[in-house]
């Protein structure tokens, strides 16, 4: 029992692990006692010595504690992989720290998107609909992370 897991948060734009205090560069990984991830089948918590495991991630909030501070990140869709040697890699299309969420902007955009979604109900707009629904999920995830 190692007591901690090494957490990686990977996005196409690089690591999304918040930087250590006094630094600006995101870190590659962080040692945490546990992490909560929004999985396809619901919120799931990963603790040390978890069985090797892969599952999709849906837009939502990733939570973990580092020392005394607890960190929250809004994440987009992707995957989480738990490896045998106790590493957790969250691969998502995007992530933003709760403190960096622009609440006013996101709220305004969410209203627009929701209104747009209500209008589009026919099948012809399926692609457009999916795009909007994805954006809506992402916006909601950001709002949830921020409060």
């Amino acid at each position: 029992m190692s007591g901690s897991i090494s957490l990686q948060i990977l996005t196409p734009l690089g690591s999304a692990v918040p930087p250590a205090e006094g630094s600006k560069e995101p870190r590659e990984s962080v040692e945490v006692p546990g992490v909560e991830v929004p999985g396809l089948y619901g919120e799931l918590g990963v603790l040390p010595d978890h069985v090797p495991f892969i599952t999709p991630v849906v837009p939502g909030v990733v939570r973990y504690r580092e020392g005394e501070t607890s960190e929250r990140l809004a994440v987009g869709a992707g995957f989480v992989e738990v490896t045998e040697d106790g590493r957790v890699a969250i691969m998502i299309e995007r992530a933003v720290r709760s403190a960096d969420v622009k609440v006013a902007e996101v709220t305004a955009r969410l209203k627009e998107v929701t209104a747009e979604l209500d209008k589009k109900t026919d099948a012809i707009d399926a692609l457009e609909h999916r795009k909007l629904a994805n954006e809506q999920a992402w916006l909601e995830a950001q709002l949830r992370a921020s409060n």
């Binding site: 996005t11 196409p12 892969i54 599952t55 995957f79 045998e84």
Partner: protein, 296 residues
């Protein structure tokens, strides 16, 4: 004397051009460093994802061949081409090489009686193909480092929608194979044109997984989530390469343009001095000649 003035004017013009080219080279150099960093930062994501795909497909007995994005079709009627170029020129052979490779590919496919559907990413490729009178089905502007993700998503969605369309679909043309032509960033000095298969999704080399992890949901369902993401990641990697390659090519082209301008200025200065000296000599001769005439 008119000649002297002309040379002076030309020197000034070339000097101005040199200022611009050397500034462009320096800007490209600075951006290249950023692009390289971004590509480096993106790599872990792509690599982990590829590993997960490989592990997952390795755990499936049939290699997951049942997934629609993996379907290999024997009878290829329509081929899709994604051409990645830049939006702007002045970057040496960057655009031309990609365009030429694309044209060759299209002609080859057409010779085999296949229809080619083209998606361009980057204005230069688009205008080249339109000029050569090929139909461009969809056009996207070249991505920047910030828009790589959304751009890759848009193209991936288009390509996979057309790939998975039913054969007799009246609205969506069914494309049986997708190929990507782009500039691979080998290093700061060399770019390489690559033609890579996109769909059916290239099967990764499957290594023996040390311990098969638990997949949730079951592997086949998981593959449904994973493959579209892996496809996007494939396009993202290509885009990062293309962006870095464009900047590297531009820096090289502008560097050599700056060198050429310097050489030209040297030559012109030499000529200018020679002309000036000739004019002085001529005047001197005239004065001496006049003085001699007065004496005599």
């Amino acid at each position: 004397m008119a000649n002297l003035k002309e040379i002076r004017k030309r020197i000034k013009t070339v000097k101005n051009t040199r200022k611009i080219t050397s500034a462009m080279s320096r800007i490209a150099g600075a951006r290249l460093a950023r692009a390289q960093n971004a590509a480096k930062a993106a790599r872990p994501y792509g690599e982990r994802l590829a590993e997960v795909v490989a592990g997952l497909m390795g755990s499936l007995d049939d290699g997951g061949s049942l997934h629609p994005l993996l379907e290999k079709r024997d009878n290829v009627k329509r081929v899709g081409l994604i051409l990645m170029t830049a939006d702007r020129g002045l970057c040496g052979g960057f655009n031309t090489k990609a365009n030429r490779a694309a044209k060759k590919f299209i002609l080859e496919q057409e010779k085999q009686g296949r229809e080619v559907v083209i998606i361009t990413c980057g204005k230069k490729g688009n205008s080249f193909l339109r000029h050569a009178e090929f139909d461009v089905f969809r056009h996207h502007d070249a991505p920047t480092l910030e828009t790589v993700v959304s751009s890759a998503k848009a193209i991936a969605t288009e390509a996979s929608t057309m790939f998975t369309a039913a054969e007799d679909d009246a609205e969506v043309q069914r494309v049986d194979r997708w190929v990507l032509v782009y500039n691979y960033f080998k290093n700061a000095l060399t770019q390489e044109i690559r033609t890579a298969p996109v769909l059916p999704f290239p099967e990764p080399e499957v290594g023996e997984p040390a311990l098969s992890p638990v997949f949730e949901p079951e592997p086949k369902k998981l593959l449904e989530h994973l493959l579209p993401v892996a496809l996007e990641s494939l396009l993202q990697q290509a885009m990062f390469n293309s962006i870095a390659a464009e900047l590297a090519a531009r820096r090289m082209a502008m560097d050599s343009a700056t060198d050429n301008a310097s050489e030209l200025i040297d030559d012109l200065t030499l000529e200018f001095n020679r002309e000036r000296q000739a004019a002085i000599t001529k005047e001197l001769m005239e004065i001496i000649g006049g003085a001699e005439a007065l004496k005599g």
